[in-house]
Amino acid sequence: MLDFFQKLFRGEDKTATERATTAPLTDQQIQSIIHGQSIQFEMQQLIAATGQSVGKQREHNEDSLLSITTTLAGKAANIPFGLYMVADGMGGHQFGEIASNAAVRVVAGQIMRKFHPYLFSIPTQQPEESLQEIMENAIKEAHRAVQKDAPGSGTTITAALVLGQQVTIGHVGDSRAYALYPPGRVEQITHDHSLVKRLEELGHLNKEEAATFPHRNVLIRALGQGDTLDADVFTIPFPHNGALMLCSDGLWGVVADHDLLRSFTEAPNLQRACQSMVAAANTAGGPDNISVVLVQMIG
């Protein structure tokens, strides 16, 4: 009997001592711990980290971000739930930070209100709206709010609502969502609503001309601008064995895709990956505000 218990607990003892290594840990040690931990999650769950910086050349931060991670506890299964956002208040406009802040608050507020019953009480009914309708209506509401609070200003918004294995993206402007697949693949999920992108598509600019185009910051669609707002809303499977990344142009505009991917693969954890990405943007001159959110599905 005693043997049995010893056998049963031996494994546990061993990991406990392994983890007790004193700080500072080397990256390899951290990696191995993380690696060791990840096998233990037989239930799928989300982890997320964020990074932000004003950059080197701006005085104000006009970016806003949000990261909420939890699970929806249910009878049959715990469904991973996450809401992540990056918004970049429009440069050149007076009220960029008011716009990006209002956009994030209103979109998040609207979405969380819909999920409130599922997170905090016992739901009795199915939701009235589809996930895409929830996202679309939240962005419309934010559009009205920005028009009211800071007329004339505008903001980008890239929001990712993760529910189970799927991500519903709501997107306006030129902040981006990416899927990072180590070792070597970076996929841009969103489509920029920028003048330069549009001109490139129409063949008026080639790649090199686009890179040096003087009006790279000009958006053709922004939250808060125009009487009707047509946000891109779509749903894709969560990038497995990789990560979902949201960021403002302060990051993607100055750090190459492969460098972002390297920051992600070489960092011991998501938080360090975010820090390393922000640092890379600042090293490259930090011309604009920098915001990044990284999300991973583990287990």
Binding site: L131, K148, P151, G152, G164, H215, A222, D227, D230, T235
Partner: protein, 625 residues
């Protein structure tokens, strides 16, 4: 400030409408509010009566701006912008520009009192008109618009650029003349600030996004407005600056090439390639009008592809065919309401064998290890040898079988009108489990992710695991007869409630819904990123799989209960109007149609460039795809 007509649904309370003035209210003891005629981002536009004229009813438009911005600096800017609009209008005197009568501020609200225009805005006219507006009509308005723009551009000391030309800012008054409304963002021409992004997406030229506003911008926006009026294609719903990709005459072939040329010139990407000034554009429009004349309309007769398609073969059964065939190793298997399952040679339609049941057969046969599985209205699942047509085994249910069998993991899954989804082991022919769905199951199950997905007539949709345990359930408002399809972790199906649903296949959350015009029993087909399905409103719809947004719709002459089949770049679908349609699946353009004598409710199958289907006219057809 921008206004638009009230199209908000009742339950959508915008903050502006919440604080709207009530009819009966009086402003500055002078303007008696009658009703709201428009809602903008910052307030409403009202129709009001001017009480200074007690003996006549003088109507005015009162444009309200509610300053709700909490930031003082923002507040100040808003007031300045509003005053600018008042100041611009006050200096202008032209029949196509509303007169300004008054301007005042009360607490948080500022008001402009303007001439009331009896009429309708061009956007509503475009939307409310069936078919296209006539070229003559649009041409007349275009020339008037050139006149008023010409007046603005000639303004001294600085030209005024309207900057927001679009159908919703053009009123057509009771005389049929145009009035430009909403000078909210008009401004005298000055070098724009970088990053300024004002104007309406879709109508504004590329350079306006760079903050440049010149007379060329108004020329472009007028071109865009005319394009919209003639094609009914709202540029706000299209990629920006993409007019060149959809020339007017490609959409509305009644428009003359002369007018198209004028519009194309106005819409040139490079400002220097547009008309040098608005007068030149007017001149070109007049020239086009002279050339075409009101009487010499170009008559175009749309020539539909002749239905001279000869079937490769046909085969006549003894009753209606409502179901879908199965093609396997050169043999076509199809059930018929004469109670028989037929096996025909796919190459020439030669009869191989038939197998008689005691009821009509609507289900699509399935094949597994040389046996054909299918249900019949005689309440049985029949399993017959594909070579001989001889019975191998049968399985009894307690209701008609309209649901087609699906075979996976050595089990056959199918529903029955006995309200049960049956799981039967194909090796033992014994029931493994029964799942009580609470109502008839006519939907054909789909197996993926180790789950069986199917709908029931009470509107429930189920995901059941291989042990017969329910993993999740979704409730539609009406019956789900349509058969689901699973791809990329989503499950798609339609319902009698007139909705195409896309649910998360793992947990049943609704990812998107697409409203069909009417109920549907059609089962969606998937290709690339498109979902294609029919509905009882007679349309075949194509919707983007990731976003649930409509790509195109194609109108047939009657209900579409058939499910589409996709082959290469075509979609094939039958209609109750008796035709089998072949459409280009990316655009929904008709390639050809083939007429049978009765409705087609079953779905076609396509293989090796031949499309096979049955019709209620009792024939099985094979056509070249």
């Amino acid at each position: 400030m921008d206004t638009q007509h009230i199209t908000l649904p009742q339950d959508e309370e915008s903050s502006a409408s919440r604080r709207q003035l009530q009819s009966g209210a009086t402003l500055v003891k002078r303007y008696h509010i009658q009703e709201v005629i428009g809602v903008g981002g910052m307030g409403s536009v009202y129709r009001a009566r001017d009480l200074h004229f007690p003996n006549v009813t003088k109507l005015v438009a009162v444009k309200e701006m509610i300053n709700m911005a909490p930031d003082p600096l923002v507040r100040q800017t808003i007031v300045q912008n509003f005053e600018r609009e008042a100041n611009i209008l006050a200096t202008l005197n032209h029949p196509s520009i509303p007169r300004i009568y008054d301007y005042f501020t009360e607490d948080d609200r500022s008001y402009l009192v303007l001439e009331f225009v009896h009429g309708k805005d061009l956007e509503s006219i475009i939307t409310d008109t069936n078919g296209f507006l006539s070229e003559e009509q649009v041409m007349t308005w275009a020339i008037e618009l050139c006149d008023v723009l010409s007046f603005l551009h000639a303004h001294k000391p600085d030209p005024i650029i309207f900057r927001d030309m679009k159908p919703s800012n053009i009123m057509i008054n009771s005389n049929g003349d145009v009035i430009l409304v909403d000078f909210g963002i008009a401004r005298t021409f000055q070098v724009g600030q970088k990053g300024t992004m004002i104007g309406t997406e879709g109508y504004s030229p590329p350079e306006q996004y760079r903050g440049e506003a010149s007379p060329f911008a108004d020329i472009y926006a007028l071109g865009a407005t005319l394009h919209h009026a003639l094609t009914r294609r709202d540029p706000r719903l299209e990629p920006p600056f993409s007019f060149a990709e959809r020339p007017v005459r490609k959409i509305n072939s009644h428009v003359s090439s002369e007018l198209e040329t004028v519009i194309n010139t106005a819409l040139a990407y490079d400002p220097s390639e547009r008309f040098p000034n608005i007068e030149a554009m007017k001149e070109a429009l007049m020239g086009a009008a002279r050339k075409t004349g009101a009487l010499s309309k170009i008559a175009t007769t749309s020539i539909a592809p002749a239905s001279g398609i000869k079937p490769v073969w046909t085969f006549k059964c003894e009753d209606e065919i409502r179901g879908t065939p199965l093609l396997h190793q050169g043999v076509l298997y199809i059930g018929c309401y004469d109670n028989n399952l037929y096996a025909l040679n796919a190459a020439d339609g030669k009869f191989q064998w038939k197998y008689a049941t005691d009821g009509g057969i609507v289900t699509r046969p399935a094949i597994y290890e040389n046996n054909i599985y299918f249900g019949s209205e005689d309440q049985r699942l029949h399993v017959v040898s594909s070579r001989t047509g001889k019975l191998v085994w049968t399985y009894f249910t307690e209701g008609h079988i309209h649901s087609s069998p699906r075979i996976a993991e050595q089990h056959v899954f199918f529903g029955s009108d006995d309200q049960v989804l049956h799981a039967v082991n194909v090796n033992t022919s014994r029931s493994v489990w029964k799942f009580d769905a609470g109502d008839e199951v006519r939907s054909t199950p789909f197996v993926a992710n180790e789950l069986v997905y199917f709908g029931a007539e009470n509107g429930d949709f189920f995901a059941v695991d291989f042990k017969g345990t329910m993993k999740w359930r979704f409730q539609a408002k009406r019956a789900i007869t349509s058969s689901p399809i699973v791809a990329k972790q989503s499950v798609l199906f339609t319902s009698m409630d007139g909705t195409l649903y896309c649910l998360d296949a793992r947990n049943g959350w609704v990812i998107w819904r697409f409203r069909l015009g009417k109920a549907s029993v059609s089962s969606p087909a998937l290709t690339d990123n498109f979902v294609i399905v029919g509905a009882a409103d007679g349309f075949i719809y194509c919707v983007e799989a990731q976003s649930g947004k409509e790509v195109w719709r194609f109108r047939t002459e009657h209900q579409v209960s058939s499910s589409p089949a996709i082959y290469n770049d075509s979609v094939y679908c039958g209609s109750v109007d008796g035709n089998l349609y072949c459409l280009e699946y990316r655009t929904g353009r008709q390639r050809w149609k083939f007429e049978t004598k009765k409705p087609i409710t079953g779905s076609p199958v396509v293989f090796d460039d031949i499309v096979y289907f049955g019709s209620i006219d009792q024939n099985v057809y094979a056509l070249l795809a």
